[in-house]
């Protein structure tokens, strides 16, 4: 389905947040996720369904002040 992932529109074969991460090769990465602006904890990724047009943010720690 069509999703916006980190600001980029993509076609991804994934029904849940967990499946989206796996499809992006980030299934094992230490990242945090938010769907449409709401935090999705690791424990909820497998049960959080995606709908077409959803915006998924995938973040990691980076340089900061």
């Amino acid at each position: 389905m069509k999703l916006t992932i980190n600001g980029e529109r993509r076609e991804l074969d994934a029904a849940t947040v967990a499946e989206a991460l796996a499809a992006l090769d980030m299934g094992d990465a230490r990242v945090a996720t938010a769907l449409n602006g709401d935090f999705v904890p690791v424990s909820a990724r497998a049960d959080t369904a995606l709908s077409p047009g959803d915006a998924l943010e995938i973040v990691a720690p980076m340089q900061g002040g």
């Binding site: 980190n6 230490r30 945090a32 990691a60 720690p61 980076m62 002040g65």
Partner: protein, 254 residues
């Protein structure tokens, strides 16, 4: 040495992790300064996040994630939630930016976000102004540390309002206070510590110096010296000279 939310930190220097010429220089700057706390951000994972995570976890400093760049309560709260899960800490440096040129805090949204995050169990380090009524509201919202700016982020202007910072110190003698942002030189760090502040947080002044490692060390020495001077009870300035050499006993030679 500062105590934040019951945790003792071995240095009054808190250092950011952005803008260094290389990861190796970043690590050397932390080693040279023994900074006790490292601030980090959360950004979209584009491949570098996993290496950076290993780097910062090896610095030997407590990690303080920030909500840099957030302009709303909602953004800041979601960022804090993601940071807590990723980094395993309930500490959050809360930034809610109100003005994009000055990067000044939106103090109204800041108080609201601080209350919400405290209710969710976070230990909030708010990037705020030196305004006393804002400080009071942040404390009421559950903050146990305050981080007023010295000057706009990245400006290196130093302490723009020493009077206001002194008033804040006097108003809240028991609250850990950190000057966050604006420090450009070691003398600024020392001045903040001489005012009785518990720590200073800086980034650009070290990372963008010609020799970041040497500057990190100089900042640490200045912060330590300022703290030691505060504890040593400095003299009050006066308008007129007062001879330090005794007048009595001087030979009469005319």
């Amino acid at each position: 040495m500062p105590v934040f939310y019951g945790k003792h930190i071995a240095s009054p220097l808190m250092l950011g992790t952005a803008q260094y010429p290389s990861p190796a220089i970043l690590a050397d700057a932390f080693r040279a300064s023994n900074a006790g706390i490292a601030t980090v951000s959360l950004r979209r994972e584009a491949g570098g996040g996993q290496d950076f995570l290993r780097l910062i976890e090896g610095l030997g400093a407590a990690i303080l994630p920030n909500t840099a760049g957030c302009h709303s309560v909602k953004e800041a709260v979601t960022t804090a939630q993601m940071a807590r899960e990723l980094l395993g800490t309930d500490w959050i440096k809360l930034e809610v930016i109100g003005h994009s040129d000055l990067l000044s805090p939106d103090v109204f949204a800041l108080v609201e976000a601080a209350a919400e995050l405290t209710a969710q169990g976070f230990k909030v380090f708010p990037y705020c102004t030196e305004d006393l009524s804002v400080a009071e509201r942040l404390l009421r919202a559950g903050c146990e540390v305050l981080m007023p700016w010295g000057a706009p982020i990245g400006s290196g202007l130093g302490l723009n309002n020493p009077h206001g910072l002194r008033a804040l110190r006097a108003a809240f003698p028991e609250v850990p206070l950190v000057v966050d942002a604006g420090i450009g030189r070691p003398s600024h760090a020392a001045s903040a510590m001489e005012l009785g502040y518990d720590a200073v947080l800086l980034n650009t002044a070290v990372a963008k110096a010609g020799d970041p490692v040497a500057m990190a060390r100089a900042m640490a020495q200045a912060a330590d010296a300022g703290r030691a001077a505060y504890l040593a009870d400095p003299i009050e300035p006066r308008e007129m000279a007062a001879p330090s050499t005794p007048v009595i006993g001087k030979a009469f030679l005319q």
